[in-house]
Amino acid sequence: MNTSCTECGAGLTVPNDAIVGEIVSCKDCSTEYEVAEISNGNVLLKPAEQVGEDWGE
């Protein structure tokens, strides 16, 4: 299943055997998405939670 990264625009391929809740990430920018829904060969992704660097400043 093919879609695109909403962050950088790169093509994003989700494996055909993916299941809801699975995490996929963009090859170019590594933004992570959670598979939210699969129906009729279409996949709906939602952004997964990301952890940022905290310098404590």
């Binding site: 962050e7 625009g9 170019d28 590594s30 992570e32 990301q50």
Partner: protein, 353 residues
Amino acid sequence: MVKVGVLAASGYIGGELLRLLLQHPEVEITIATSRKYAGEYVFRVHPNLRGVTELKFSANDASKVMADSEVVFAALPHGESVKIVPQIADAGLKVVDLSADFRLSDKGQYPTWYGYDHPRPDLLEKFVYSIPEINRDQVKGARLVSSPGCTAITATLALAPLLKEKSLGIDRDHVVVDAKVGSSGAGGKPSLYTHFSERFGVVRPYKPAGHRHAAEIEQVLAEMAGESVKVSMSAHAVNMVRGILVTSHVFIAAGVKPLDVWKAYRSMYTGSYFVRLVRDKQGPFRLPDPKLVVGSNFCDVGFELEERTGRLVALSATDNLVKGAAGNAIQSMNLMLGFDEKTGLTSAPLHPV
């Protein structure tokens, strides 16, 4: 095998040319010159090349270089190259010059930036200023090539796509380039400034304003934009041996999104092996860092957008001796000779360093 000569091969750039050319499958080094070390084994000056070559330095004799070479790399200092390279160029050899003496196409810029009147302005239009990722087709047909300054190429690779893409609405009068440069960028000649006790641990602003490389950057960016561009540049000596990080600041039109910037970079660099777009969401290296390009011909380019102020921060990192000098020069030679531009240059960067 193509016969190549290296003029002024005892400096850091000369040593890097030798290191890379010795591994190149299509060329052989027939002569490497040094005024100071003529007759000495190359590996006595470049100890990393012990066991790699038995080559000895020859005197800086242009006629001998011309007799022994088909392609000449000139790693002479600014103002010295212009005394020797013209006769090699006039003789019909292929030349890749790494000094600043043939970088600027306008002879009127030389007194301003380099303090001398150019003695051979006719050659300036014959030399192609080579950044293959930007003007690959011009380099392919060239006999005479000028390779950019290390901070100039690093900054230009991050900025050129932004100035070319009109929809980003870059303010052409306020392009700010801030460079952090490793000690090898100052060359191999020791001074108080490079003495370990004075150099170690510094973040020294050695040229806060008026850096010469601004002239080269403006030259290319003006071509990209189709109009003049003003570059304000600062440079700092930092605690690395190899590497440059350039942080460039430009101001953009309202409404520009990260996706628009990605598109601008991809439209120029898709298919260019040596430019890697780095804007990762994970891990400690989310944006370009010179630590991850050491020893390689890569230039890593990334960006961050500050929508509140309309500022786009473009970041780029190179190994100053490779993509910043010898690697880009060899990549240019590959194109001039009809080789794949990656030939001899595909070593991955070292990690960790």
